[in-house]
């Protein structure tokens, strides 16, 4: 089948959306290479397809078998983002991969929730360290009726509540924040590596084809 100008425009539109979607998480070069491969696939399918009952129906059938451009991009994203995150450990890559896992099921969601909480707690400690020199009287350990309740900032202290701690709170919060962030990040990489092996493994074996049976398999 030879595509008319309208058919070619439809294919160009499909590839444009695909490349734009791929560029959100891949390098320009990688996105272009993947798009070129999908274009080659479409051209092969078009050449072998009969233009029946009409070109539009035939072309839409070809594109439907391929999946929508966003679905194809999502498949690339799921396949590659986790690998990039495990291999490089870059914060952005890990965050993207964890975000994607959150949408894959209950385990992914709970894992992502736990990791998000870890990062949030770590950043909370760091925020305390940053705010302490700016608001020295309002940031520190918060005591209520002689009992320590929290570490943070309080700008409208009710009766019976006081903020304790000097500038050493800054060092304490920074150290605690960094510790929590590092541990959470390590946990995130381990979780992603585990998820990757779970995804690629055939049921009773590990995901790397090393042949070590899973415990209890």
């Amino acid at each position: 089948m030879m595509l008319s100008e309208a058919g070619q425009a439809r294919v160009r539109g499909y590839l444009y959306v695909l490349e734009r979607s791929l560029r959100t998480f891949q390098s320009v070069e990688a996105a272009r290479d993947a798009t070129r491969e999908v274009e080659s696939h479409i051209r092969d399918r078009v050449e072998e397809a009969p233009a029946e009952p009409d070109e539009r129906t035939a072309l839409e059938g070809i594109l439907a078998r391929l999946g929508t451009p966003t679905r194809v991009a999502r498949a690339y994203s799921t396949e590659l983002a986790v690998d990039e995150a495990v291999a490089t450990g870059r914060l952005g890559a890990v965050a993207r991969a964890v975000g994607q896992l959150a949408a894959t099921g209950v385990t992914g969601f709970l894992g992502a929730l736990g990791l998000f909480s870890g990062y949030a707690i770590g950043l909370g400690f760091v925020a305390v360290a940053v705010l302490k020199p700016i608001f020295p009287a309002n940031v520190g350990f918060i005591w209520r009726n002689g009992v320590p309740m929290a570490l943070g900032a309080h700008f409208n202290l009710p009766p019976g509540t006081e903020v304790r701690g000097g500038y050493w709170v800054m060092l304490f919060a920074l150290a605690a924040g960094m510790l929590v962030l590092v541990l959470t990040h390590r946990a995130a990489r381990r979780f992603l590596a585990w998820w990757r092996s779970r995804r690629s493994g055939v049921f009773p074996f590990d995901g790397h084809g090393t042949g070590r049976p899973r415990p209890g398999a």
């Binding site: 491969e37 999946g67 194809v72 396949e79 590659l80 055939v202 009773p204 084809g209």
Partner: protein, 112 residues
């Protein structure tokens, strides 16, 4: 777990092995792999999901890829099994046989 989910998991588990098997004999481009799989299996449900899988396998060093411009009306990206991929294929094939053998034995036992 529904039957559909179970089937989907089986497909997903088998697809990687099937792709490696497809490329064991000779280099193939994406659509050739899809056609080969569609002839003998129903593992490829959506064609567009096979390309990301092959991209990942290439990234893991199991496949190598190159664009060839002289083997068709337009350039095509051909995939070949790397030495590491061949090694992985042997391991996966062995374990697949072992696994299916065990399930077959259970099926036979259940029939008696």
């Amino acid at each position: 777990m529904s039957l559909e989910t179970w089937q989907e998991q089986l497909r997903r588990g088998g697809l990687e092995l099937a792709v490696l098997l497809c490329l064991a004999g000779r280099a193939r481009y994406g659509l050739e792999v899809i056609r080969h799989l569609q002839e003998g299996t129903d593992l490829v449900v959506t064609e567009g999901t096979l390309y990301p899988l092959m991209a990942r396998l290439t990234g893991e060093g199991l496949l190598t890829s190159e664009w060839r411009e002289d083997q068709g009306p337009h350039p095509r990206k051909y995939y070949t099994l790397s030495a590491r991929g061949r090694q992985r294929l042997e391991q996966m094939s062995g374990h697949w046989r072992e696994f299916t053998g065990k399930i077959d034995r259970l099926l036979e036992e259940a029939k008696r």
